[in-house]
């Protein structure tokens, strides 16, 4: 039997062991998740990676975003895309994925696991960046091309927890943003990235709307919940998980500032956020 290579990382405060018979894959994971490696933590989730060389190397090959189809059956969640296929059992907290020796499919599978597991832990994964300004954390949310990476680039003097997907979870009674390895376009530019195991209390969430003028349009509770749900990374085909997501979205909307940020391509929007 081949020796198991493994690494423990912590995502959203959840220790995850990644193990594989491929030392190269585990070395790639150690590099890809640098800043999140937590060898001293006892893993809550174990993910076994099996190498399948027939899979796409790159999750974003052919210039198209990866599409994942998800089904659930008695606590087992199955995900399938062009670059991987995997299963996560929410009861045993064990996952298995078949993929090529590449980091991108593993990112996608771990994001899928967090999307289905975090609701039971008071959290969720959101299409948003997370930016720290003067000790406050702000999320800017929207679908692809809405301007999340642009806003992150326009905020280069501040610390950035994530530019594409934020890991949000309740900690000490408040909703917090955790450091996230799920990056879009900013990291390659070497901006002010904060790959951290810690978390920061969220002050507000703003849904992005490109415009010629800059202002914040405040949202009511119901509109906020609708926007938050619309921007969640993945909705499971599972009533229990979706009920938790609705409840969390409502609680989140009631506990942070919510609005639509109309912005143009400069950093003047921060004045509106400061005054909101």
């Amino acid at each position: 039997m081949k020796k198991r290579n493994s690494v423990v990382i912590s995502l959203g405060g959840i220790p995850i062991r990644i193990q594989s018979s491929s030392k190269l894959l585990v070395d790639l994971a150690k590099y890809g998740f640098r800043g999140f490696v937590s060898p001293d933590l006892k893993p809550a989730i174990t993910v076994s990676v099996m190498i399948d060389d027939t899979r796409d190397m790159n999750a974003y090959s052919y210039g198209k975003p990866h599409h994942t189809s998800v089904v659930s059956d008695s606590g087992k969640f199955f995900a399938k895309g062009s670059s991987y296929s995997g299963m996560f059992d929410i009861h045993s907290l064990e996952g298995e994925v078949r993929q090529s020796i590449a980091i991108a499919p593993l990112y996608l599978f771990l994001r899928f696991i967090l999307s289905v597991y975090l609701p039971s832990q008071g959290g969720f994964v959101l299409h948003s960046n997370s930016i720290l300004k003067d000790g406050k954390c702000f999320l800017f949310s929207g679908k692809p091309q809405s301007g999340k990476s642009t806003v992150a680039k326009l905020s280069s003097e501040y610390e950035i927890l994530s530019d594409d997907f934020s890991v949000v979870k309740k900690a000490n009674g408040s909703f917090c943003a955790f450091g996230s390895p799920f990056w879009g376009h900013v990291e390659a530019k070497g901006l002010n990235i904060r790959n951290t195991l810690g978390c920061v209390k969220i002050t507000g969430i703003y849904f992005l709307s490109k415009d010629t003028s800059v202002y914040v349009e405040k949202l009511g509770r119901k509109e906020s919940v609708l926007e938050i749900i619309e921007n969640m990374a993945l909705l499971a085909k599972d009533c229990k998980t979706n009920s938790r997501l609705l409840s969390l979205a409502d609680e989140f909307a009631c506990s942070v500032n919510c609005g639509v940020l109309h912005f143009r391509l400069d950093n003047s929007f921060w004045r509106c956020i400061d005054n909101a």
Binding site: R221, K222, K237, N242, S243
Partner: protein, 97 residues
């Protein structure tokens, strides 16, 4: 149809916020937002009420002509049955949410 019992599909997740239901349908992952009248109809579908009871409830709670309530309720219930959010049955059902 008036004597049929109406219940919610137990597979859907929903939450009522500010008198309006937000519903997540699992098959298509769609988000639906009902207005206050539609929310009362949806919430009344507990498997123990017949369509005619729900129409009566709408007439009691809202300032609406019975003829209009009758027409709109039937159309709405049919639409939600088509979208697999509500289920019609000849007998009362145990499941209620």
């Amino acid at each position: 149809m008036l004597n049929m019992y109406v219940s919610k599909n137990k597979e859907i997740a929903y939450r009522v916020i500010e008198d309006e239901a937000i519903i997540l349908t699992p098959e298509d992952g769609m988000l639906h937002n009902l207005n206050p009248v539609a929310t009362v109809i949806f919430e009344s579908a507990n498997g123990k009420r017949q369509v005619k009871d729900i129409i009566g409830k709408i007439c009691e709670e809202f300032d609406i002509e019975e003829r209009v309530a009758h027409r709109d309720c039937l159309n709405f219930i049919e639409d939600l049955v088509h979208k697999k959010m509500l289920i019609l049955s000849g007998k009362p059902t145990k499941f209620s949410k």
